[in-house]
Symmetry: C3
Subunit: 211 residues, 3 copies
């Protein structure tokens, strides 16, 4: 399924760019940029493969992934040096695309190991979002994923759609295409119209204050 | 050992509630609450099983764990919406119970793989506290475990008690019951009388200031 | 290769000391100091072995590692209590030595599993720096590694040197000695003359501001 492989590498490049940009916002040096780019783009898949005992993990099995992530990071630095503006909307759309691909791949890898549906969804979401979460943790921010428009919810829906189609007698390529489109549409709609889920507010009352 | 299995699920529910409350204090949305609840309740066991190469990890082997964690999170949101107050003391006691169970289970799983005593204790402590530590890291706080009354020390003692009893010719259920009670008693005493270990203070002198 | 094993344990002790000092700067209690020391000294190797599926991980295989880390932490507390000053320069030199050893060991372990060169370098760097990165994350700081003089760059170079020598017909001990010396020299020069890589500055413009 070579178009899918190309999409996967595109997702890696996009997440590497988003990692490099965050590293730049924190004024990291060249090495910091590379590390954050690698973690953002390959962290989710590494966590998934390690927890699923799916060895060797994706970037050890195929070193093109590392190459793409490194090129994505270096390309970002060069781009910012040469031409100031980052096309934020273009980046958000590309990020949504990467998210969609990673979610479906994560679900697919989990299903291939016959895990329960709930675990397959978790693996899909983890593959899509964990890299970004680790990036934000290292950069000492509350992960954006928990504070923005609908993000991982799109992954949950897309993962469930894929699992449903996977069990039907449809062509595998079609299953992937529909599930990827589902994540993409939800995420792009959330960006366009600033859709978000209701929040769970709780006043910060420490136990000590009551004692 | 079905009463122990029930206790384990109770521990999952309790940690899911504590995760959901922390997520509420950070005003996360529904998805954020679920993710933090899942990480808090299943993170320790996932880390333990992955490092011990004990696959499939607990929540992939048995999807009741995920269900209980999700219900614990949703129940917390519903409870807070319906009736304001959280019974902080009740939560602390329940948390102590979950901690006790998780510590003994972690030690047990490690001993079943014939690891050295030191590694079995680390696995017990890790199972008990890692979920909460990851929760605090994601929520961008210095993990409470390092700043409160005796917490993980109770795990260390309970884990050692379990290892001692495990080697004796006592019934397995009794070993578990005594070790769980040990963690519970130490932790509850620490909460009741605000017991803490001495701290290691060190002024923050950066090397640069000396150069 | 017993002198290498001794060096490895020395690296564990040094990183345990650096972890204990950071824990002291955060006024943690005895347990917190031990946990941070263990994570700093054994975290990198644990991550490497888990991702490489190299089980049992190093400190389960050989419990001397845990003993050395615990003694390093307790020794640090005793030392600070007895005699105030920490010899910062001595610590930096020891840290550079630990970094050099860990990097070469990580690369070696990865090469033994016939991974691609890029993955072997990542494993070397990860073994050298991940413990410190996790330490900084738990202590809620942007990892120092991303903000200081040349640090992980020394690991990358040392790892590549080792991989090059490994393929030549040189004695294994010599390969290790040269690669360790490479990391050490680069890192000590960076400390001595405050060498750093250029930074990638990017103004923090959130997408919301443009919409």
């Amino acid at each position: 399924m070579s178009w899918f492989y190309a999409f996967d590498l595109f997702g890696v490049a996009v997440f590497a760019i988003s990692g490099a940009l965050m590293a730049g916002r924190k004024s990291m040096d060249l090495f910091g940029v590379l590390v954050i780019a690698l973690i953002t783009s390959l962290g989710g898949g590494t966590l998934r493969d390690t927890i699923l005992d799916n060895h060797p993990v994706v970037w050890i099995r195929d070193d093109l992934y590392i190459l793409v992530a490194v090129l994505g990071a270096l390309g970002t630095i060069a781009w910012v040096r040469l031409t100031r503006p980052i096309h934020e909307t273009g980046l958000l759309v590309a990020d949504a695309f990467g998210l969609a691909i990673f979610t479906v791949i994560g679900t697919q890898v989990a299903l291939a190991q016959s895990v329960p549906v709930s675990a397959a969804v978790i693996m899909g979401v983890m593959t899509g979002v964990a890299g970004g979460v680790i990036r934000d943790i290292i950069c000492n921010e509350i992960p954006l994923i928990f504070q923005r428009e609908i993000y991982a919810t799109a992954c949950i829906v897309g993962s469930l759609v894929y699992i449903g189609l996977y069990r039907l007698d449809t062509p595998a390529d079609l299953d992937v295409a529909i599930a990827v489109a589902t994540v993409l549409v939800i995420r792009l709609a959330a960006i366009r119209w600033h859709l978000g889920l209701p929040r769970f507010h709780l006043l910060d009352r420490k136990p000590a204050e009551k004692d």
